[in-house]
Point group: C3
Chain length 441, copies 3
């Protein structure tokens, strides 16, 4: 059958991982300085935040991958691998400034929280490429994207004085456009037809997907809730409680709206589970990006409502169009789940902030800065995505063949017998139906 | 085949959801006033409670539905929909009193916690109707039941001066009797035979249910733990820690007892996973209702023990009887999981409180009030259940036909191919066996 | 077919559970005294810890069992049963000293946390025996092992003045060696061939295992994180935050390293999901045991790296060897997941502590005490394991026959139809292939 695939990956992935890991250990040994604090409410909050972000990054994104049933091991396992590599890398990058001034990188629990949020931007992009890449690609993407995202944050905070909490919430926009640029560069002719394995899974896997699919939906709801509440400024902690309320209400409204719009726009008037899941998320993303300007529950609810409507309609009518016109094969609906809701949240932030300003000069000034920060983020993410894509096109990394896409067997020791058994069954059906025709004729 | 089903639901569910949702946003915009607080231990507790109740309501009840394997999407998806609608509605209803006096509804994180607990009473009732209703029914039930429950709480707190924490824990009793009244009114002749799909699932799904079934058991144990600890009075927070201990011990004892009694009462001496799950819950429900009177671990343990024994025996011998004699088809064992343990907890509360009173006058007075609160709760829940049931009998809501019960395909875009494939396989068997007979003869 | 199995277990398990449970209730009623505290940061931490340890013990170990697909109910259900019995028993045993001096056992939320960690040592051992024992065995093992572990802790704390946090983290070593001694004593000739059901599962179950397998991996990562942070001394709570950081980094490094080494050592250059899961855990176990001496992130990272390498290599080359040479059939890779990483952590603790000592006399003194504590732990765990094993060999407990091993049907009312259906399918294939040959010839 196909050329033996695995040995080549062994000579690429294992050395890469070992080298990077040993490098990280050395850097941590030489440069990291751990801060110790007295116990206080502030640090108790840090601990709770770390749990929340960790659940989001490891469990939330991990579950997102399980909808690809024949690719479940890879989606979840590589997600974990990428998350931990990107987090370690982000701790180092975020500490460069402190290293420049003091010669040491200061780290505490909060650094890990921020680093995991940077890693989340990489996990968002990777969602669009799942199944069409190998883990070497994914690790490289993660490292480059985290570097780009940290650079973007540094630019925004230094040039435009954007507060840290606002600049980091642009991770949804950065991740989405980085991912779209990547899929555009890495587009394969094979994507024009649905992948054999991707299609097969949709049919055979639905049965076992039932539980996991919805479970993941619930967990997303759970975790996004906390994700948004983490980075609100600690000097005004009651804002954090407000962020939790707002996110909950936005998610609630977008769940209801997504159900209604999904049913209205379906030709048969039925709900679509994959859509439901994305559109509920959309509400959370939009409210997350605009969080620091949301003060009333109804504002969060309106944002959630708009995000769900927008994202449902775009996804119904634009996905196929994008595949054909822009040559983007987008495995996990990046644009409608993270990209557009992120832009919507950015717009809502702008409008709410202008509404709250009494002085028109301040409002215009804010608008200019806000538009600049979006432009910088989008252009940086697109250009970094294109550069990363060009690097990955290099055949040295041995991309999977089209017929090995969306297949766990390329990377994991999963029993072949299983697959053989299924195949036998399918053959059986064919043979029998032929046989029956023989009997009839 | 069957008449085209979906379009009719599109013209019912989507407008209902959109209207209600826009209505809620308008009410929130006009009347809700958000309270802001300084950070304190008290508000840190609020945050932890919100996480816990949220996990219980969204994940816990969501998982409860997955045992219906061909109905997993609906059970979990509709649970989410109903939970978020009921919560938004309950925030409004709970604030009516404050609106009456101040013209504004005051809301903070704590209001969401209380609202989610009101929503839980609706989710309990809905468990009994899963598979035999459509989402329009479920949303209507949720809104009416939450209204009834808030009215009941108001009556108990105003007329009988029942503390808020005690009156809200009656949600198990209210939910169970509301649900039973509903199933009685909505009884269908078709329920006398087991539903085709309900039966089919039990066989075909067990394989894939294994993981999810038990996972849900564990999560129930986890979450109920916290559910009970939430509403203990904040002026004495060490009581909260006591509530966690008591709930853990009651759940532990009822797990052990349920295993023993389930094995003793089984004709083959085996354990039944569905029973195990319900009866472990029973212990938690019973101790939750009597929580404010439990002071010693052994009291909680004895309540857990009794609840598990009672609930196991009732479930083994009464379920079929109820179906035939009272014409109640109870999908998720409402009576033995929530109803009877709730009553047991009420009784335990009465006995423990009387035992703790030195003065017989006080004890008698407490007993009279306690009995009145039970009578009010039961009569209100039954009458609201009957009214709701009569409203739902209206064919305008287009109830699912008997052969579409317990089937995700009625509401969700799940690939038909999957079902066809299975059918082909079954047909194959039949054809082959006929074929073999031909060969032999 | 086989002799009727269930009735005999009914006459053993149900009375045992009921007797023990009623006994526990009586002891709790007579001797337990609940402590009440004012709310403080300290007790808020207790509450968070209780949640974390509970998630670890109930969910984490519960999920560990689901990789045995035809044994999922038993693995998870019996895990719950054993955990709650062992916890109740450990609360009593840990209170004996306080009972001796004051006549009452003092209990608060913290006692439950410590008791659950003692129960964890029993759950580790039980992992090695899953599938080859019945629940009566498991309950007896749990009670005896918890007794042994509490005795071990008492010896270490009294004779060698080992701090409580260090002595309890030896639970991984105690559990692993107790479990190995047990498997050695309970070795069956049948184990030399792979069990029929154990093998069958690996094939048929992979499909549905995908989701759950990886989910469990993620949850392990999540929970171990907290497990290690619980027992760091409360007088220096910033250490707790350090423990969380260290555990996270150790797990991250061991995930990356395990992936690399698993790929390097595989003949086909592929990843193995079961290995990945165990080796990630290995890093957490190693850093947990040495936690109190780890002060810098790179120390934790190096320990995680070494643990993953060691454990991957041992597991690839030693498992079959152990089965043949030492006659140990180790269902859940006890030695490479808990035993060796535990020893490695012990060694790392020794080296780090010696490095930190300025005075060589203190260093030598510490080394002697540290080596003694290991020797006591290992000899006590091995001898308790052998005694327990000999007790369990008694046929009174009716061990499962070889052909009933790894089969849920022996203990649970799971529909037989399911199995019959599968069988029919397999027969179908055979018949059809024979049939085809007939036609051809």
């Amino acid at each position: 059958m196909a050329p033996r695939y695995a040995p080549s990956l062994r000579s690429r992935l294992a050395p890469l991982l070992l080298l990077l890991q040993i490098g990280f250990i050395v850097i941590y040994a030489v440069y990291i300085e751990v801060l110790t604090h007295l116990l206080s409410l502030y640090y108790l909050l840090s601990f709770a935040e770390f749990q929340d972000v960790n659940v989001m990054v490891i469990l939330g994104f991990g579950f997102l991958g399980t909808f690809l049933v024949r690719y479940g091991y890879s989606a979840t396992g590589f997600n974990l691998l990428v998350a931990v590599m990107a987090t370690q890398w982000a701790v180092i990058l975020n500490g460069i400034e402190s290293w420049y001034y003091r010669g040491k990188i200061r780290a505490d629990l909060r650094s890990l929280v921020v680093a995991e949020m940077c890693a989340a931007s990489a996990l968002i992009s990777i969602g669009a490429l799942l199944g069409k890449t190998n883990p070497v690609h994914l690790v490289l993407i993660a490292l480059l994207e985290v570097s780009g995202f940290v650079l973007n944050q540094w630019l925004l905070q230094t040039l435009l004085k954007v507060p840290a909490a606002n600049s980091i919430m642009l991770l949804h926009i950065f991740g989405a456009f980085f991912g779209l640029a990547l899929t555009w560069i890495l587009f394969r002719k094979g994507s024009l037809q649905p992948f054999e394995k991707e299609k097969f899974d949709r049919q055979a896997g639905l049965f076992s997907m039932m539980a996991s699919g919805i479970v993941q939906l619930e967990i997303q709801v759970q975790t996004l809730n906390y994700f948004n509440s983490v980075l609100v400024d600690h000097r005004s902690p009651w804002r954090k409680l407000g962020a939790v309320c707002s996110t909950y209400l936005a998610l609630a409204v977008s769940a209801v709206t997504a159900a209604a719009v999904s049913m209205l726009s379906s030709p048969k008037g039925k709900l679509n589970p994959v859509h439901m899941q994305s559109f509920i998320l959309a509400g959370g993303v939009a409210v997350g990006v605009s969080m620091s300007a949301v003060h009333q529950p109804w504002e969060a609810m309106t944002i959630g409502f708009t995000a769900a409507v927008l994202s449902t309609i775009v996804s119904r009518y634009l996905k196929t169009h994008m595949l054909l016109a822009f040559e983007c094969h987008d495995t996990s609906a990046l644009l409608s789940t993270h990209g557009l809701p992120g832009l919507l949240g950015w717009l809502a932030h702008l409008l709410l902030q202008i509404k709250a300003c009494d002085d028109p000069t301040v409002a215009v000034r804010f608008a200019v800065f806000h538009i600049c920060s979006l432009l910088i983020t989008i252009s940086l993410s697109l250009s970094m995505g294109i550069i990363t894509g060009l690097l990955l096109k290099w055949n040295f990394w041995r991309p999977p063949q089209d017929n090995k896409c969306f297949d766990d067997q390329a990377f994991w020791e999963v029993g072949n017998q299983n697959f053989v058994f299924l195949k036998t069954n399918v053959e059986l059906n064919i043979i029998l139906s032929l046989h029956r025709k023989d009997q009839i004729s």
